[in-house]
Structure formats: C-alpha cells, structure tokens
C-alpha cells in the first residue's frame, strides 16, 4: 500500500486524512459539507488539498463515511418500494408499537412510515414461533401479489413474514415468485436474510428501510467509486458497527451505514487511548450541534443491536451511543417560566455563534467560551474570522438580564448547563448501566469536547482525560484505521437447560459459515478472519436481553449462566440464580484487521501558534492562564490553568489539573488531588 485516504462526510463538515507512506506525509483537511450532493465536497478535497502527490504504486486505500443514508431517510427521498408480509399483518408499519413519545400531546403525530399503505401487500401463509408451518404458502395468491407489484413499476420489494427468523422458506419462495414477476435486477430483500431476529415491526421496518435507501446509497457509492477510480485502489465504506466493508457490502446492507461518523470517532478514540495503555474509557465527541457519548470496555466499544432514526427502529448492530443537543452552537435562552436553557436548538453553521459575526444574535456555548476568554477573543478562527467578543458579551447580557445575571455570570451559567447535559449523557451510559464513571478515563474530541472535558471529569470524579492528536478530526482518523467488520445474528429462543455443546457448535458454525462466505465473496481469504461469538440471554419471561461473549464446547455452555447472572447483577443490581435462563439471539462478529497505520497517522501535526498569557473567567473570578500551541506540551507535566490551542480544537486544563504529552502524542490531563 502506498497511500491511505479517509474522508468522513458529516452533517456540517467533511473531514479528511491522508497518509502518503512513501513520503511519510500526513495531511488533514476540513471543509464545509455539501448536503445536496455530498460527493462534491469529496471531489473538491481530492482535487485540492488531498490530490495525490505522485504515482500510486503498491495500491492505495480509500475509506469513506457519509450521511447519504441518513439524509435520504430524513428527507423521505428514498426509493419507491413495496412490502410483502403475512396475511393479517399488512399494517405492521402503520400500527408500529402503539405508544406515544409525547404523552400530553392531543395533536399527536406518529412517526411517518417509509411507504404508504397502498404499497403493503399480504399473502396467505403462517409459521409458528418454532418455524413450523401452520398454514402453507398460497402460491397462487403470492404470484398474484407479485404480478400486482410488477404492475406498479417499483424500485424494490421487502419481504417480511411472521416468524421467518425461525424458518426462511416462505420468504424465500415469495422472493422467487417476485423475482419471476419483476424486471431483472429489481432488488428483493428478505427479512430472514437481512435481520433474522424477532419482533415483527422492528424487522419489517428494517427490511423496508434497506430497500428504501439501498438505491440511493448504491448510486452514490458507484459515482464516488468512479470519481476516485485508479488502479489497485481498495474502496471501503464505514458502518455503524465500527468497522468498514467494501462498497458492495454497504450497498447490500445500507442500514449498517447509518451513524457511521460517530462510530468512526469511537474507533479513533479506542486506537489513540489504546496507544496510551488505556482500555476502559468514556468518549465525549462534542461538535457544533450535539455531543455523542459512548463507553469502551477492554478496548471494545459497547454495542447495541437496535437503533432508532427519526422515530423508526432499525435492527442493526451499532456502537451504543447517547446523543444530547449540547454542542458549541447550541443556543441559550430563557423559557416562559424563567428557566435558563441551553439547546436543543443550535445556531448551526449559519448564522453560527454571535462571535463569528455572521448574523447570529442569540448566545451559544461557543460565545460563552469566548466571553470567559477560554476561547481567546483575540484569536482568529481558521486564520480568517476575527472573533467578536463584545458582540458575544452583549448577547449573553440580553439573555441574563431578566434573570439578574451579568454577562460573565450568564456565560458561566451557560457553560455549567451545557456541561450538565453532557454529564447526564455520561451518567446514562455508565451509572444507569451499572458502571462507575470513576473507573474510566474520559477521551475527548470533536471541535469542542476538549474544552469541556476536564470540567465534566471533575464533576464525575474521573481522574484522567485524554485528548488524542487531531481531536477535531478524529472521525476521519478512526475511519482510516477501522478494521473490516461484519455481524451476523439470528433469533432462536432456546432454554439454556436444554442446550448442549453440540447444538451450540452447530448453530455458531452456521452463522460463521455465513460470515466467511460473505467475506470471501468480497475477496477475503478465510485465514485472516477473526470470529467472536456472542449470545443475547435473559431470564425466561423477561423481555430484554443482555449480551455475553462465549467460547466453544460444553464448557462454554456451562459458563453462560454464570456470565449472565454476573452481567445482570452489574446492570440491574441483582441476579436470580435459581430462575431458568434462555438464549434468544445468536451472533458472530467477523473481523479482519487492516494494515496498522495508527501510529504513522499519529505523528505530530504542525500546529503553529505562539504562547501567550491572558486572563480567563473561572468560578466567578478572573485568573491568569497560559495559552500554548500543542507542540509546546512535552512529557513534563504542566500545571493548569492552561489552554492548549490547535487549528481544529482547543483543550482547557483547569487549575487543579496537569497536562503532559503522552507516549503517542495524546494530551494526558490528570487531576492533581487524585483521590
């Protein structure tokens, strides 16, 4: 490999990283995203700052993450598709789960289904929960449905019948009949193939959503592939599970490409923290409009098997993440009852914070940082924008005055409230899951994360904060180093007492076979594939499962109960060891590590800047603080208060903290009174 190129398209900015191995040169770039056609920003990067220096001998890798799937969904601009389901169930997408998100809303609106009701069809057939056929498939009826769908001239069909996770035969037969009736090449997606897991609404929605966004994702990836085409280029697409796949894999399972940017950030954080020897940590990714929080244990991001986008559930493996509407651009305001609030509305990129002078009038979190001078008012943003500290202070004054606050106290209050939103998200991901935040480090990134991290850590009792190199571009870095990962999971509800090592082996062998077959289709030999096994387990009668990792053989079966009781005790505070336990979902995770470039990529970037001393407003008083370029921090600890500045972010080290450069170039912040 001669060159590595990672481009991550976010909602506001497109971040990029390139590594020229021959020259040993790392380049980074951050440009505004082009939401109407995300490929434009990518192309401009490829032709501009990231244009290849010379020949591409030895091949190169292009890694990409984008919000194309999310945009198609949010704007309801997906493909025109149909659903085929079991007789009696055609309204599965309309009925949803029957509850409301806002209980005191008389004018309640349900999440809008992806397809209209007239695009939903039913065929007579029925399976039981064990997969046994209760009503045979009505072939003639299914053919007639296929003909009716063919007449509609659609872009794809999703098939989801009841209990198909236990027996795919009816769906497969319906699929074959559809294939016969529809023009060649029309995508036909079977739920038993995509997500063989129980709960019919969630599975049907996932299958329909796949069909709905697949053509948009494919078209986009094809275009991009053509644009970056060169000899020996390997193209990869980021997924929500923290790994990449070749574009064909992404086009086949487009639902896995939602939320890929935040997942890439977590992968980047795991690599950077791992190089400092830290395996258990919380990630804090604070951007312009929101903050994402996740937890990494023993070097592995915590995962979930279902996520929700725009009110619609998707059964897709994803890095478990909580998002709160508190970012640098989040607006401060006072509600009618006199409560000072921050977010969830954001000033976004336009008009942006007041201090940018682009027309914003309401104060943002960034403005509060400018008023307190933690972001220096004398500084320029991106070397161009003169910060308007006075305008920021005036905006704070207008919000604070009715509350009896001066501009400085207002700014301080805004920061405290924004901090508390993030602390709430961290508690949700830790204490609410039986984890103690104090047993973790906090890894902060995104443009604003490192400014707030030490203050959050102090409140949470977290002793260490790590700010990776390129903290403002960590998603692109994570993208550059992400391994190839595929999850294969299936529901088979089995009492643990009846389970043998043999059955365990057979069921996992089947899933593993699927995983290896898929990767081999993408051109990967079996040897390099690492396969992990997981089970989702619960007490018989419970409705939610906990995931346990598992090995092979009878010993593995014997270990399940103890692992599950322990996980249950950690999560919920108790275990019932005499209760029957059952296995619900079976999962394998197949991983192929790519060439490890994490160290090369972490070479110190040239940050520029000069040291300075100015006052900052902290805890109700102005105190002197040093401002240093990142390159000035060495392995010798410096005492706060100090602010470390770099082009895409800044790190605030409060008075009771020290900062030093870690072995791999991360900033390591340590609380001095480490209790």
């Amino acid at each position: 490999m001669s060159r590595l190129l990672a481009i991550e398209v976010g909602g506001t900015f497109t971040d990029a990283f390139s590594l020229d191995l021959a020259a040993g040169e790392v380049r980074t770039a951050k440009v505004p995203s082009t939401p109407r056609d995300p490929a434009l920003a990518v192309q401009s990067l490829l032709e501009g700052p990231l244009a290849a220096a010379g020949g591409e001998e030895g091949g190169s890798e292009f890694l990409h993450g984008s919000t194309v799937a999310t945009n198609a969904l949010l704007e309801r601009k997906g493909a025109d598709v149909a659903l085929v389901t079991s007789e009696g169930m055609r309204d599965v997408l309309e009925l949803q789960r029957g509850d409301k998100r806002r209980i005191y809303d008389l004018l309640y609106e349900k999440p809008k289904p992806l397809i209209r009701r007239s695009r939903s069809f039913a065929v007579s057939e029925r399976l039981g929960p064990d997969g046994a056929v209760r009503v045979p498939l009505d072939e003639a009826g299914a053919s007639a449905v296929a003909e009716r769908i063919a007449a509609l001239d659609l872009e794809g069909v999703a098939v989801c019948t009841l209990h198909s996770y236990a027996n795919p035969e009816h769906e497969q037969r319906i699929g074959a009949l559809l294939e016969r009736a529809l023009p060649a090449g029309t995508p036909i997606l079977l739920s038993s193939d995509l997500v063989p897991q129980f709960r019919e609404y969630e599975r049907a929605n996932t299958t329909v959503m796949s069909a709905y966004i697949a053509p948009r994702v494919s078209t986009y990836l094809d275009r991009l592939e053509a644009a970056v085409e060169s000899e020996d280029l390997r193209f990869f697409v980021m997924q929500s599970n923290g790994g990449v796949v070749p574009p064909r894999g992404a086009a086949e399972r487009p639902i896995n490409t939602f939320l890929s940017g935040p997942a890439a950030g977590v992968i980047g954080a795991a690599a950077a923290a791992g190089r400092e020897g830290v395996k258990d940590f919380i990630t804090l990714d604070m951007g312009g409009t929101s903050t994402d929080v996740s937890v990494v244990r023993d070097g592995r991001p915590q995962m979930v098997s279902q996520v929700e986008i725009d009110g619609l559930p998707i059964q897709a493996p994803a890095v478990d993440m909580t998002t709160v509407g508190a970012g640098g651009g989040s607006l401060a305001w006072t509600d009618r009852g006199g409560m000072l609030r921050v977010g969830p509305r954001s000033a976004g990129a336009d008009p942006g914070p007041v201090c940018y002078g682009w027309g914003g009038t309401e104060p943002t979190v960034t403005d509060a940082n400018v008023v307190t001078n933690i972001i220096r008012g004398s500084q320029q943003i991106g070397g161009q924008v003169e910060l308007q500290a006075e305008a920021a202070a005036e905006a704070c004054a207008s919000v604070g005055e009715p509350l009896g606050l001066d501009p400085l106290s207002t700014a301080d209050s805004i920061l405290r409230i924004a901090d508390q939103h993030m602390i709430g998200a961290i508690r949700l991901m830790t204490t609410e899951r039986g984890l103690d935040p104090r047993d973790h480090a906090l890894v902060a990134f995104g443009g604003a994360g490192p400014l707030h991290a030490a203050r959050l850590a102090r409140d949470l009792g977290i002793p260490t904060v790590i700010v990776p190199q390129h903290a403002g571009l960590l998603s692109a870095y994570g993208l550059a180093i992400a391994p190839i990962v595929r999850h294969h999971a299936r529901t088979a509800i089995r009492p643990l007492a009846e389970l043998t090592g043999e059955e365990l082996g057979e069921r996992f062998a089947e899933l593993e076979g699927d995983a290896r077959a898929e990767l081999s289709e993408h051109g990967y030999a079996s040897e390099g594939i690492e396969v992990r096994r997981e089970l989702d387990v619960r007490y018989h009668g419970q409705g939610y499962e906990l995931t346990v990792a598992i090995g092979a053989g009878q010993a593995a079966v014997d270990a399940i109960a103890a692992e599950f009781h322990a996980a249950h005790r950690q999560r919920y505070g108790y275990a019932r060891e005499s209760e029957p336990v059952e296995v619900v979902n079976w999962r394998v995770i197949a991983t192929i590590e790519r060439a490890d470039a994490s160290e090369l990529l972490l070479r110190d970037a040239e940050t520029g800047g000069v040291a300075a001393e100015e006052s900052i407003y902290v805890n109700g008083e102005w105190i002197p603080a040093r401002f240093l370029p990142r390159a000035d921090v060495s392995s010798e600890p410096l005492e706060g208060p100090v602010v470390i500045e770099e082009p895409t972010s800044a790190t605030f080290v409060p008075a009771e903290w020290t900062v030093r450069r870690g072995d791999s170039g991360s900033l390591i912040l340590t609380r001095r009174d480490n209790r």
Binding site: D91, E94, L95, M339
Partner: protein, 558 residues
C-alpha cells in the same frame, strides 16, 4: 416572571436532574419486569416525591397512573407512622377507597429516601398486575372489590424482615396464580425505587440538602407559574361537556359523565354535576382515577406538551369531589376494575369542554377507550398463564391534522405486544390479524384516526377470556360538524356460528375459535364536505376510506 431564588444554572441543572431520576427509575422497572404487560407494553410508571409527598418529577409513561401518585401517597402518609420509617421500609397500597388507589390491579410502592439519617423524599412506582389472586381477569359480576383482587390497604413492610422469603412476600406468592411473575414485577418496582433513592441521594450529596430543597420549591412554583399563565389567557367562563359510556355492562342504559370547567383568572375548577350514579358492576371510577383524569386533561389542553409535569401544575386546578355515590366517587366497596373506561370519558369531556374557547388546541374525541383483552389458561400440572393484550384506538382529528391511527388511549401509553413475542410466550393462541379498519375514522375536514382489528385463533379448549371496552353502541363523536368514528365490536367465530360479545364480560373459548376484536376510530373535526380533495384521494388510494364512503359521506362525485 422571575420568582426563582435558586441560582439560575443550579436551578436548570437540578430541575433536569429530577426528571432524569424518574426516567432512570422507569427504564429500570421496565427492563427488569417479568410480565409482558410491563416489559413489552410498559404499563408502569415512576415518580420522585418530596418529603411532603409532592410530585417533583415523573417519567412520561401512563398519565392515568402518574397523576394519581399524590393521592396514593397521601393516603399512606395519613394512615402510617412516619416515625417508624427506615431505609428498609416500603409503603404499599392498591386500595381505591382507603388508600388513594385506582383499581386493585395497580399496585403503588413508595420507598423513603434517607440522606444522612434525614428523610429527604420518596421514590414511587406503580405497575399493572395481570393476576393478583381472586377473580381470573376482569370480573364484570364481582359484587365488590373483595371479589376482584387481593387488597393491600396502605401498609408498611420491611425489605429486611418481610420480603426476600419473609411473611409478606410468601403470603402474596401463595395467593396468586403466577407467583414468579408477580413477585418478579414487584421486585422490578423495588429496584426502580432503589435506583431513584440512590440517585436522589447523589444529587443531595453534590448540591447540599438546602439547595436541593430550595430548587424543589422553585421548580414547583415554576410549574404553577406556567400553568397559571396559560389558564389566565383563556377567557373566564364556565365550559361544559358531556360524554357517555355504553352502559354499566348489565343494561344498555347510557351512563352520563358531565363536567363543568369554571375558569376564573388563573384558576380552573372542575365539577361533575349531572354525572350518573354509581353502578353495581366494575365500571365505577374511584376518586383518585377521576382526579388523575382531570389533571392529565388540563395538562394536555393548557400547556405545551414538552413542559415537564410536577405538583405545581396541579395547584391552579381544583377538582371538586363528585358527590359520594356518583360513578366518579363510588361508595365503598363497589367494584372498580374497569375504572379506566369512565376515567377516560372524564378526560375526553374536559378536553371537549375547552373546544368552546380554545378550539385550535384540542382534538375531537378519539376512540379514547382502554380495551383490555385477557386470556387465562392452565393445563393440569403446568404453570398458569395469563396474558393481557391492551389496545387504544383511533385518535380524534385536530384543526389541522388527521387523528393518529390506532395508538394507546390518551390516559394510557402502553405499547402493543409484538405478535412474535406474544406467540413465543404461550402456546394456546395465535394472532391472526392486526390491521387497520377501513372507514373507521370519523369523517371530517380532518379525519379521525382509524381503529384496528385484532383477531386471535384459539389452539386449545378451555381458554378463559375477559374483555372490557366501550363505544360499541355510541361511538366517539365528531367536533364542529365532524362525524363520529366507527364503533367497536367483538365477536367469537365458532365454525358457522358468530357469537357477539358485549363490551364488558368474560367467556370460555374452544380450540378453533376465532376471537375478533374491532377497535373503533376517532371523531372527525369540521364538516366532511370541506375535506381537501387531495387528502381524500390519498385516503382512497391507501384504503383508509372506501369509494362508497367517499361518495356517501364526503360527497365526492364521479
């Protein structure tokens, strides 16, 4: 506007912290519960209360539960001795007549929160129990509450000595048909309370008891201030409405629920003159349910749905007691199991009353009925199985939007149970259909939401089914010229035979029986002739409205 004494940032942070605690309690309860009715349908609620029993925050689960947390607590507080409270104590009640309870199936648990030996608050939770002994499921013919369920008067028990194998736990376990599920769900409530107490102590630890106390007072005043400002904006006057239940289950004489909402300045007093007398069947609605229904309706009509609810929101709303002997304040110990039916009529009537002064804020009456379909089955030598399948219905249309199709009623917020989960949990029935009912939404300029058909095929003889529902005879009415939604129906198809079911009752089923429950739709808003032709065309294409109805009711030509 600003009477808040707490430092602004601290006030915001603590107010949001109170809400987060109630939400964490709720997620703990639902995730650790055993019964499908809690773990899948989420028929459970949690609140944080201050030492005086005032509601500080609630998780947004079931309005009918949530807004009666305070009467249940108050009854316990009056009957029990605070001096005997320790961190191991739990207060329990489900008594509708002496204990501020609703129906016996809803059990309230309150755990005291101690910080440095000081009582600083209570963590409260309530869950719905499909079985706690006595009658199997809903018993229309129960003569009194003693025939309905096991009764827990306001009482104190100790986790140390009475639970975990202690007398109280053993007594409950011995008197219910599914002890694992019942005790498991009670443990889930206790786990929720435990989490609430731990989190609240952390909040006190971080901020100091005095600051937290002041923030609570400010937060309740803040709620009160918002509520008063909104009521103030409504013109003074007396606004009235009436609603009807189909009957008491024995006769088909409609049961009238009448409300009068008197708005004066920033206060509103709600009374029930003209409401029907108590009935001999389980449709009575005890005082706590009535109060909860009014408070829920006032919150919906008056304030922005996003504002978190606390005790302060209750202060400007006076709910007068209906006279003792009214269906909304029955005499002890008349049966009450189906109290949700009358309670939601109170809700709908309050909303409807306000249509006269704030028509843009309200919707037309929806189906607004809890339909509970319970199946009980036991094979000799096998564990007893009881499944509760809960349904809402079509929502009423608003001034600018069609009613939502088949969601839970406005006083509930239960999820439906996935067919695949329902069938994996038992082997005596299948769900054969779960579909929207064409033409069930009330016609109007804006159309009412559609109701759904749910049908169940029995696989065994001897399944015992209980049902309560309403709006079989008198459907949800329309508003401002809108037409009523479709009424509900239920029947058993047994071979050639079709057995019509009444909205309330029970029946023994045979293998092969098909039970069809058709839920009704919501009322329309405004005259059907004014419906936008494009919306009507979309309704026809999507099968929500038939061509026949488009012609006969909407007057569509061609």
């Amino acid at each position: 506007m600003n009477t808040i004494r707490t430092d602004p940032a601290t006030f915001t942070i603590l107010s949001q912290g109170f809400g987060a605690i109630a939400r964490e309690m709720s997620s703990t309860l639902i995730r650790t519960a055993y019964s499908p009715v809690i773990r899948e349908a989420a028929d459970a609620s949690t609140s944080l209360l201050d030492p005086a029993g005032r509601v500080i925050s609630q998780a947004e689960n079931i309005p009918l539960h949530l807004n009666s947390m305070e009467p249940a607590f108050r009854a316990c507080d009056e009957k029990l001795d605070r001096d005997r409270l320790s961190p191991e104590s739990v207060w329990i009640t489900n008594d509708p007549y002496r204990g501020g309870g609703q129906h016996l199936s809803d059990i309230f648990l309150f755990s005291p929160i101690f910080y440095a030996d000081e009582l600083v608050g209570f963590a409260g939770s309530v869950g719905h129990y499909v079985d706690i002994g006595h009658s199997r499921g809903f018993n229309l013919h129960a003569a009194d509450i003693y025939e309905e369920r096991m009764l827990f008067p306001p009482s104190q028990f100790s986790l140390g000595s009475d639970w975990n194998g202690g007398l109280f736990e053993r007594l409950i376990a011995a008197n219910v048909r599914m002890p694992e599920a019942t005790i498991g769900d009670l443990n889930a409530q206790l786990a929720a309370n435990h989490v609430g107490a731990a989190r609240f102590c952390e909040l006190v630890e971080r901020n100091g008891a005095a600051v937290v106390q002041m923030a609570i007072e400010d937060f309740l005043d803040y709620g009160e201030g918002q509520m008063r400002a909104e009521i103030e904006a409504i013109p003074d006057g007396v606004y009235e409405a009436e609603e009807f239940l189909d009957g008491d289950g024995l006769t088909e004489e409609p049961v009238r629920i009448a409300v009068q909402a008197r708005v004066e300045g920033s206060e509103c007093t709600v009374s029930f003159a003209g409401t029907a007398a108590q009935v001999q069947t389980a449709l009575n609605c005890p005082r706590a349910s009535t109060v909860s229904a009014v408070r829920s309706a006032m919150k919906c009509v008056v304030t922005n749905a996003d504002l978190p609810l606390n005790q302060g929101f209750y202060r400007p709303v006076v709910v007068e007691d209906a006279p003792l002997g009214s269906i909304l304040n029955p005499q002890p110990n008349l049966p009450v199991e189906a109290r949700a039916l009358a309670a939601v009529r109170v809700f709908t009537a309050v909303v409807k009353a306000f249509s006269a002064c704030v028509p843009e804020r309200v919707n037309a009456p929806g189906f607004d009925t809890r339909t509970a379909v319970d199946f009980h089955y036991v094979r000799p030598g096998q564990p007893y199985v009881a499944m509760s399948d809960l349904h809402g219905g079509g929502y009423g249309a608003g001034a600018d939007l069609d009613g939502a199709d088949q969601v839970d009623d406005p006083l509930g917020n239960c999820k439906n149970t996935p067919v695949e989960a329902l069938e994996a949990a038992q082997d005596f029935f299948l769900v054969r259909a779960y579909e929207l009912r064409q033409d069930s939404g009330g016609a109007g300029r804006r159309r009412g939401g559609l109701g759904a058909l749910r049908s169940y095929e029995m696989l065994r003889d001897g399944v015992f089914m209980t049902l309560y529902s309403d709006h079989f005879k008198r459907p949800a009415p329309g508003l401002f010229g809108g037409l009523p939604g479709a009424p509900a129906e239920a029947r058993v198809v047994r071979g050639e035979e079709e057995i019509e079911l009444k909205p309330t009752g029970s029946t023994e089923l045979k293998a092969g029986d098909l039970v069809e429950v058709r839920i009704g739709g919501g009322g329309g808003y405004g005259p059907p002739g004014e419906r936008d032709p494009e919306l009507l065309a979309a309704d026809i294409e999507d099968g929500r409205v038939s061509k026949e109805m488009a012609e006969s009711v909407y007057g569509q030509s061609d």
